[in-house]
C-alpha cells in the first residue's frame, strides 16, 4: 500500500511537471517566437496608437462609425458573457423589440424588415468583433451621411472588408468592424 502510494505520488509529480510546467512554457516560447502578434492578442494600431484587439469588439455609438451587434456585457471584456435567454423568454422578446426600434430610429432610410438578424441578437461572447455583410451594408447610408462621404465610396470599403468563409468552405462571411472603422478613418 505504502509502496503503491510512493510510486503513484512520484509519477503524479513527474507528470504534473511535464504537463504543467514544461508543456505550457514550451508552447508559450514557441508561440511568442513563431506568432508573436497573435500570441499577444492581435493588437491593432492606428497612427501609432493601439486602438484595440482585432478579436475583441468595442462599444460604438458615434454615427460616423459602423456599429456592432448587441452585447450582453456592452463590450467590456471582464468577464465575457451572453444573455442566456431562452426563446420563450418575454425578456428576450422585449429586448429584441427594443433593439429593432433602435436600428429603425437610427437608420430611417432603411426598411424595418431589412434589419439583419445578427443586429437584433446578442452574441455568445458579448465581444463579437464581426457583423454579417448584410449588417454592414445596412449601415452604409447612415455612415456616409454622418461623414459627408459618397455612399458608393463607403460601399467600396465595405466590400473590401468582407472576409469570405475560410478556404471557401469554413464558417460564415464576416466583416471585422474595428478594421472597417479604421479603414474609414484612414480615408480622411
Amino acid at each position: 500500500m505504502l509502496q503503491t502510494f510512493k510510486t503513484t505520488l512520484l509519477i503524479f509529480v513527474a507528470l504534473t511537471l511535464v504537463t504543467g510546467v514544461l508543456y505550457p512554457l514550451a508552447i508559450t516560447a514557441a508561440a511568442l517566437g513563431l506568432f508573436p502578434d497573435q500570441a499577444r492578442g492581435s493588437l491593432v494600431s492606428a497612427e501609432g496608437q493601439v486602438i484595440g484587439s482585432k478579436w475583441i469588439g468595442q462599444p460604438t455609438r458615434d454615427p460616423r462609425y459602423f456599429w456592432m451587434r448587441p452585447s450582453a456585457v456592452d463590450y467590456a471584456p471582464l468577464p465575457s458573457g451572453a444573455t442566456n435567454l431562452g426563446l420563450t423568454s418575454e425578456v428576450l422578446i422585449s429586448q429584441m423589440a427594443a433593439r429593432a426600434a433602435f436600428w429603425r430610429e437610427t437608420h430611417p432610410t432603411q426598411a424595418a424588415e431589412d434589419i439583419p438578424a445578427d443586429l437584433l441578437s446578442a452574441s455568445a461572447s458579448g465581444l463579437d468583433p464581426h457583423i454579417s455583410p448584410a449588417a454592414a451594408r445596412f449601415q452604409i447610408e447612415r455612415v456616409a451621411a454622418a461623414r459627408q462621404l459618397d455612399a458608393a465610396q463607403v460601399a467600396e470599403l465595405v466590400e473590401a472588408a468582407i472576409e469570405p468563409p475560410q478556404f471557401g468552405l469554413l464558417g460564415q462571411a464576416r466583416v471585422n468592424v474595428l478594421l472597417l472603422n479604421r479603414a474609414l478613418d484612414a480615408l480622411e
Binding site: 503513484t8 508561440a31 463590450y75 465575457s80 442566456n84 441578437s121 461572447s125 464576416r174
Partner: protein, 563 residues
Amino acid sequence: MSTQEGLQIVLYIALLIAATPILGGYMARVFTGQRVILTPVLRPAENALYRLSGLDPQVEQSWRGYALALLMFNALGFAVLFALLVLQGQLPLNPEGWPGVPTWLAFNTTASFVTNTNWQAYAGEVTLSYLSQMLGLAVQNFLSAATGMAVLVALARGLARQSAATVGNFGVDATRAVLYVLLPLASLLAVVLVSQGVVQTLASYAEVTTLEGESQEIPVGPAASQVAIKQLGSNGGGFFNTNSAHPLENPTSLSNFLQMLSLLLIPAALTFTYGRLVGSLRQGWAIFAVMLVLFCAGLAIMLVAEYEAAPATTELAALEGKETRLGIGNSVLWAMATTSASNGSVNAMHSSLSPAAGGVALFNIMLGEVIFGGVGAGLYGMLIFVVLAVFISGLMVGRTPEYLGKKIEAHEVKLVIIAVLLPSACILLGAAAASVYDQALASRANAGPHGLSEILYAFSSASQNNGSAFAGFNANTDFYNIVLGLCMLIGRFGVILPMLAVAGSLAAKKRIPPSAGTLPTDGPLFVAVLLAVVVVVGGLTFFPALALGPIAEQLLLNAGRTF
C-alpha cells in the same frame, strides 16, 4: 442551411471516420508497448519517468490494485488543485492579483476538473491566475483524460485475457496516455491555434483606448496550450468565461473546425483501439456505428430545430447566443459534438438554442455520454450498454449471455446496473430536490419550463461529467457548489470503480469458443439492439423530466406562449 454549411458537416464526419483507424491503430500500439513513430523520442522520457518514480513497468496489478492506484492518483490531483486555488492570492504568476478562490467554489472547481467534467461556476478571466490555469486546471485536463483512457484499456484487457489475475499497470497506462497521445496532439494543436489568433502569453492584460476614446482591458494569458488539451481530452473547461465562443479562445473558422474535430477525435479513435485490443476490429466498428447513428440522428433534429424556428420572432432570434463568424451550422454541430462527448465546451450559448435543440443536447448528456463520449469514459460507458444489451438479448432467446467469449453473469450485470443507476439517480434526485428548495430555484435565469431545463441540465451535466450549462443559471451558490461537486464525484468514480471490477471479473474467466448459439455482437442486428437499449434505457429514465422541460417548452413556443 446553405450548401456550404452542409459540406462542412459532411467534411467533419468524413474526417472523423478517416482519422479513427489511423489514430486508433497508433493508440493500440502505444498501450501494448509496441514501437511507434514517436518511440525514439519518447521511450527514453518514459523510462526516465519510471526510474524516477520507482515504477516497474513489468509489474501488473489486479483490478483492486489498479483501482487503488487510480484513486490515489486522482486524490493527489484533488489535493494539489484545491491548494493551488485556495492559496492563489499568495502564489506567483498572478499578474491581475486575483485573490484565493472561496472554499466551496474551489471544492466544486477541483471536483470538476479532477473528474474530467470541467463545470465552471466561475468566469476564468476574472477569477483565476495564470498559475492556477496552467499548473492546476490544465494539468488535470491531461491527467483526468489519461485516467479515462487507462480505465478503458484495463477493461479491454479484461475482455482480451482469460484466466488472468491482472488488468495492467495504472501508472504505465496513464504515463503512456499522456506522453504518446495527449502531449504530441496537444502541442501540435496549440501551436496551430496560436497561428489563428488564440492568445498564449504570460503578460498581464492589455489596456487599450478604443476608437471612440474609451478604455478597454483585453484579457490574455496562456490560453492556447490549455484550449488544445481542453478539446483533445474531452475536458471542456474554457480559459475565458464564454469558452470557445470567446474570440480569443476560438478566433477563426479553422480554429473552430480543428477544435470541433479534436472534440471527438480521440473518443472515436478509441473504438478502433478497443477493437484491436480485444482482437476484433468488427466489434470496434460496430460500436462506432452505433455512436455515429446516434450522432447523426441527434444532429439532424438539432439542425431542423434551429433552421426551422417556429414563430417569426424566433427566426430572428436564431442568432441569439451565437457568434457571427460561426453561424448556426457550426454552433449546432459543436453543440451536438460537445454534449455527445462529455466535453462541455461551447461555441454558442446552449440556453439560447431552440427548446428542441437544447433538449437534444440535454438528452445526449443524460444518456450517459456514450455517443463517442469522453476519452475512455465514453467507450466504457457504451460498454455498460453493451453488457446490458447482451444480457437482455440472452434472456430473450433463453441463452447464457456472453460477450466476446466471456460469460456475462449476475455479478457483472449488478455492477453495470450500479454504474447506470448512480449518475441517473444523482440527476433525477438532485433536480427534484432543487426544484422544491427555494434557494436552489432562485438560481434560475429564465421563467417557465426553460428554468426547469436549466436545473435539469446542471445536474445532468455534473453527474455525467459533461460540464456545459444553460449559462444564465447561477451555479456559484453554496448549495450548487457542494451538491453538484458531489454529483460529479459520484458520477465519475461511481462508474469507474464498477467498471474496473467488471474488468477484473472478466479477466479471470475462461473464454468460451463460439458455438451455433452464440449471439454475434458485431453485426447489424446487434447494432440495432444496442441502439434500442441505449435509447430505451435513457428514454425511460428521463422522459418524464424532459417532458416537463424542453418538450413542454418547444410545444408552448410553437403555440406562441412566452414566460
